[in-house]
């Protein structure tokens, strides 16, 4: 059963320079209780997709079209007040950078208990209890002491544990983890990934793992959605994706992870397209080594190639044979 069904989602940013089509006709489903990997280069629309589901797309962006069915209800149609009750309670989001996503001026206890109070209308004491309990779940040392502290008094890894706890406070059904480890040290990254994996297993929560890192995808996800320049390139079970991928996915897999100071970046030859005037036809064609004339003219449909595998490429048949 699908917990989330996104169909034909379009989220655009109406900037002075033009309309940035950050998410442009994206559709995919997330099966209940499973971990889905949402991958793609920087700027492909992964975060905006998550923001759209929570309906927190910042200005000047907004959802232009599409449906987001969560547990059978279309979130796009919800009123603001109704939507607010979903956020943090039924759907949560972990941000990429724990340092910037915690408010520096309030104690951990204050920030986290507010969320519990907001949703469950409980007293402060009860809320604090929930906070401590959830912090324990994320294996943060000494949670009773931690709630009295401010974010700057913790290390990056500890802060990310706090952010994970913040997302889990109210046992959400769906959790988006938006590159939760990119801003952390390599050793800490592994700890956070294994924590998320354990939590997902223990709680049986549905997890959408947004990442650059194919290694993380291989380790955690059952199913993968590959985004490029606001379009879905490929959807499929992990094994199939690694075996017979779309040219863009293949490039992603081939690209060597490059250790930047803080972020792990992948590099594929060529540049990420401008989303104000994106390439015609297949958005990947300017960088695709298999591109033919048709690719420039016509957008390839997302075709069902069997075995829950979907590909958006004019040449998938030939390429699969060739592989």
């Amino acid at each position: 059963m699908n917990l989330l069904e996104i169909s034909n989602l379009k989220t655009h940013f109406f900037t002075e320079a033009g309309v940035v089509k950050a998410v442009d006709d994206v559709s995919f489903n997330v099966e209940k209780g499973c971990t889905l990997g949402l991958v793609g280069e920087s700027g492909s629309g992964k975060s905006v997709t998550a923001q759209s589901v929570l309906r927190i797309v910042p200005k000047p962006g907004r959802i232009v079209d599409g449906k987001i069915l969560f547990d059978g209800e279309d979130l796009v149609q919800k009123k603001d007040g109704e939507m607010q009750r979903y956020r943090g309670k039924r759907i949560s989001l972990i941000f990429q950078d724990p340092t910037s996503s915690l408010n520096p001026l309030f104690t951990i206890g204050n920030q986290l208990s507010d969320i519990v109070i907001q949703h469950d209308k409980v007293k402060k004491d009860a809320a604090i209890e929930t906070v401590i309990k959830t912090l324990k779940l994320t294996r943060l040392p000494d949670p009773e002491e931690a709630i009295r502290r401010y974010p700057h008094q913790f290390s990056g890894g500890m802060k990310q544990r706090i952010c994970i706890a913040r997302a889990l406070l109210l046992n959400p059904q769906l959790l988006f983890a938006d590159e939760p480890t990119t801003s952390l040290d390599v050793t800490i990254q592994a700890q956070i990934i294994s924590l998320l994996k354990d939590l997902q297993k223990d709680i049986g929560m549905t997890l959408v793992m947004i990442t650059h890192d194919m290694g993380v995808v291989a380790e955690m996800c059952k199913c993968v959605v590959v985004l490029y320049a606001g379009h879905v390139m490929e959807i499929g079970p992990i094994e199939t994706i690694f075996e017979a991928p779309h040219p863009y996915t293949a490039a992603l897999l081939k690209a060597v992870p490059r250790l930047d100071q803080t972020r792990k970046l992948i590099s594929i030859p060529g540049n990420i397209p401008n989303l104000i005037t994106p390439p015609t036809g297949c958005r990947f064609h300017p960088r695709c080594e298999y591109a033919v004339a048709l690719c420039k003219e016509k957008k390839p449909p997302l075709e069902d190639v069997g075995g829950d595998h979907f590909i958006s490429c004019h040449r998938w048949r030939e390429l699969r044979r060739g592989a």
Partner: protein, 326 residues
């Protein structure tokens, strides 16, 4: 660290500053001229011997360092001496004007501060909307209207033509003020405040609003604001708790500066509304070279500015746990 220790230390640092300020103003004052000459200039019958007597009486005939030491000794005991005009104790004069100035200024400063909070948040939120432009327009009009002109227009319209509000002073009902026949002293004092407060508030509102608007625009882009929204925190709380505190520091700085400077009064506003304030009294004292009153006022203003500074610095540490005072 300890707030108390910090305050004590800052207090100690103030001492040399205050003494330095007092020496400089003493010297400048003496360079400016002979107060007895000025005081007696309008009196052709006065002899040089009589002037010498006056100089001796006010202690102006001893060497400047000696005069300074005498002034300092009294100052340290909290005594600013007597005015050269009428001989009233400077302490008494200052405390009267000080109260009136503070009343007028603090009301205006805090009014501007509190109005600017919703106005600044709203215009940041609705950036480039009609409401944003309206708020900017009103506040820019407020800052660019000359106080002199605006004050006089208010007086002409509200006092002279409509007889609604008293046009001058802080108390008492002059002729233009009989409409409601108000005799209650509190109401009377409030009625006198309306126009000068309006002028002063509008004059500083623009800076407040623009500072907060700029701060909020910056803060609203931060991840922690999106994270608060993503957690389902109500919009009101996102703005007034999780954004305002992060955006308010520049406004607090302005508040501290304005409170510190407020004692010097706003001589122009005080003049237009014949307000019995320290600003006007100060200008008056300087023009007459009323040495004890000049020194007294200068010292009070300086101390107030320094104290406001310390309080402002303390409030930064109180707002932001990352700032350590030491």
């Amino acid at each position: 660290m300890g707030f108390v220790k910090y305050i004590i230390r800052r207090g100690i640092y103030m001492i040399p500053l205050i003494i330095g300020i007092s020496i400089v103003s003493f010297l400048v004052m003496y360079a400016a001229g002979d107060p007895i000459q000025i005081a007696t200039a309008g009196n052709p019958g006065i002899t040089e011997a009589q002037r010498d007597f006056l100089r001796h009486y006010y202690g102006l005939d001893t060497p400047i360092p000696a005069q300074y030491v005498r002034w300092l000794t009294h100052f340290l005991q909290g005594d600013f001496g007597q005015s050269l005009y009428g001989g009233r104790p400077v302490n008494e004069i200052i405390s009267f004007y000080l109260f009136e100035t503070l009343k007028l200024q603090l009301i205006s400063i805090f009014l501007a501060f509190f109005i600017s909070i919703p106005a600044g948040i709203y215009s940041a939120l609705k950036q480039r909307s009609a409401a944003d432009y309206t708020i900017s327009g009103i506040s820019i009009a407020g800052v660019s209207l000359p106080v002199f002109w605006f004050g006089i227009v208010l007086i002409i319209v509200l006092s002279y033509h409509m007889g609604l509000l008293p046009s001058a002073g802080a108390y008492g009902s002059p002729k233009l003020w009989p409409v409601f026949g108000i005799s209650d002293p509190t109401l009377d004092a409030l009625a006198h405040l309306v126009m000068p407060v309006t002028v002063l508030t509008l004059a500083s509102l623009a800076y407040n609003v623009r500072l907060l608007r700029a701060g909020m625009l910056e803060v609203l882009r931060q991840d922690y604001v999106m994270a608060a929204r993503a957690s389902g925190i109500s919009e009101r709380k996102v703005l007034y708790k999780y954004s305002l505190k992060n955006a308010i520091t520049p406004l607090i700085t302005l508040l501290g500066l304005s409170i510190g400077a407020s004692l010097a009064g706003a001589p122009l506003t005080e003049t237009v509304f014949s307000w019995p304030g320290l600003g006007r009294a100060y200008v008056n004292a300087v023009s007459k070279l009323d040495f004890p009153l000049i020194m007294g006022t200068t010292m009070i203003v300086a101390i107030m500015i320094l104290v406001a500074n310390i309080i402002t610095d303390l409030s930064y540490a109180w707002i932001d746990p990352r700032i350590h005072i030491d």
